[in-house]
Symmetry: C2
Subunit: 94 residues, 2 copies
DNA sequence: ATAATTTGGTTTATATTATAAACTTATTTA
DNA sequence: TAAATAAGTTTATAATATAAACCAAATTAT
């Protein structure tokens, strides 16, 4: 009847992050923060969760002298997102 | 950028309930329980929340001698559901 | 007849999750 | 060189989901 919704993606902020990364293929932490309106703390936690699940990869580098955290979606993340969208349809179709 | 997701609807079980009621216009508690696979306790709590928000109406009646709880979606609930679906699109469109 | 089971739930306790506040370290700017 | 800003992380708290425990009435079994 209803397909289960991946709890990792069924979260407003994490879904926003994934959505951004699908469009952008690469995004810096401050950019994601600005686009989502999240606090840095919340964003940091959610980025960690997505990264721990292998849905995104996080590269810690430098931009000049300042630290710079770059996020990218992984193939597993893309697949999970697509599956999530499919699952959602089982709830939305009338 | 991203439209906020009504937290009342952004819940797997509550979304299932709403989805069922949109298709059915009326459903009994045990039927919803069976269709969603939820425990009675969980379902009872979530039905209360939807009812408190005015998204569904709950009629407590009898079927023969046994109690019977009937749920129906309200116009406000239908509107909220439609808004939720609209909001979701801002995350899903690539 | 009465004990056990089932039905149809509700209440309450617990586990999980989301979120922000507080903190850290380094870098600019005043 | 002191204050402010940038870029995060860690930790504490608030909110939420979920199931376990419970209750009352009806049905079935002994």
């Amino acid at each position: 009847m209803f397909q289960p919704l991946d709890p990792l993606l069924h979260s407003e902020l994490r879904l926003s992050i994934m959505s951004l990364l699908i469009s952008a293929e690469e995004a810096e932490f401050p950019y994601i923060k600005e686009q989502t309106g999240a606090t840095a703390g919340n964003l940091s936690v959610q980025v960690d969760k997505l990264s721990a699940a292998g849905y995104i990869e996080v590269e810690k580098t430098f931009k000049g002298k300042r630290p710079c955290t770059i996020c990218r979606i992984t193939p597993a993340g893309l697949k999970a997102f697509e599956d999530y969208v499919e699952a959602l349809k089982s709830y939305l179709k009338v």
